[in-house]
Symmetry: D2
Subunit: 98 residues, 4 copies
Amino acid sequence: MNVIAEFTIIPVGVGESISPYVAECLKIVRTSGLRHELTATCTIVEGELDEVMRTILECHRKVRSMSPRVVTSIRIDDREGESDAIERKVSSVEEKAR
Amino acid sequence: MNVIAEFTIIPVGVGESISPYVAECLKIVRTSGLRHELTATCTIVEGELDEVMRTILECHRKVRSMSPRVVTSIRIDDREGESDAIERKVSSVEEKAR
Amino acid sequence: MNVIAEFTIIPVGVGESISPYVAECLKIVRTSGLRHELTATCTIVEGELDEVMRTILECHRKVRSMSPRVVTSIRIDDREGESDAIERKVSSVEEKAR
Amino acid sequence: MNVIAEFTIIPVGVGESISPYVAECLKIVRTSGLRHELTATCTIVEGELDEVMRTILECHRKVRSMSPRVVTSIRIDDREGESDAIERKVSSVEEKAR
């Protein structure tokens, strides 16, 4: 059973550029093998709940090791019988919005 | 001066499928003329702060008119001198994560 | 018709302490006359949707004037026939959790 | 090393009242022994990161067992040398906003 989750990690107290931290997270997500997508405002991951959360917390700890304060936002969408959600969700909306 | 914002609108009390509501929002966002991107977990819009918020609230009100309760999450990223953020942010991270 | 909304404003690129910025927002919220509550992770406001959003955006702009980058998270809970939600919601849950 | 986190769990597809689900979560949080606070928009917990996340995920799973779809939002504030944050953060802001 898969969930789809998005997360955003903001390092506080280290300068206004966030992309170097997001890049570190992207490396961790790629290594995890989870299906994922990087967007302009968040990283989206899809997989089994515990594995998804383990990966997000690894990203959180990595950024925290580079910064004195970190604010991490996570939103988990957990739906019965869901799979391949990253692609399917977008196309399902686009069909309806024609 | 542009901001980039993501939003997610969840209708509560009307069934577990959300995509018909997201489709209504996508139509509103397209009509607004704002640069935007639909993802599996949120809609991203870019533009002047007041216009971005006006568009998101129009989506909120539309979904609220279809549902007895709505929970809308918005995250605004507002940075000095930012523009064309939707594409540039992703490529900036991908370069650093090589 | 009232909504209840929580918001958190994170200044990026100006040091790890956030409380001076939250204090500026609290002054704005108090001046607005909206019912509100300050918590350890967010500020909660209750009132008519447009007035709530106007107040939150005023806080956002104030913090943005003090910082080169700001990330503002907002969650709006908009329910038919809702009022006095700040107190009532908590007591409604506490009764059920006895 | 403590973090402070807020979470909100929205059951989708089961009616517009959320308080019975929040009550189940409050019972889990109380049993965890973590310092916590229930607010009108979220539940705040404070403690060691892994324990905080374990407790939030237990709440998520409980609500998911009662509902076909659940959207859970979590925000973690993780700061060097932080403790007793739930009370101290509010009083620190209130002093500055006098």
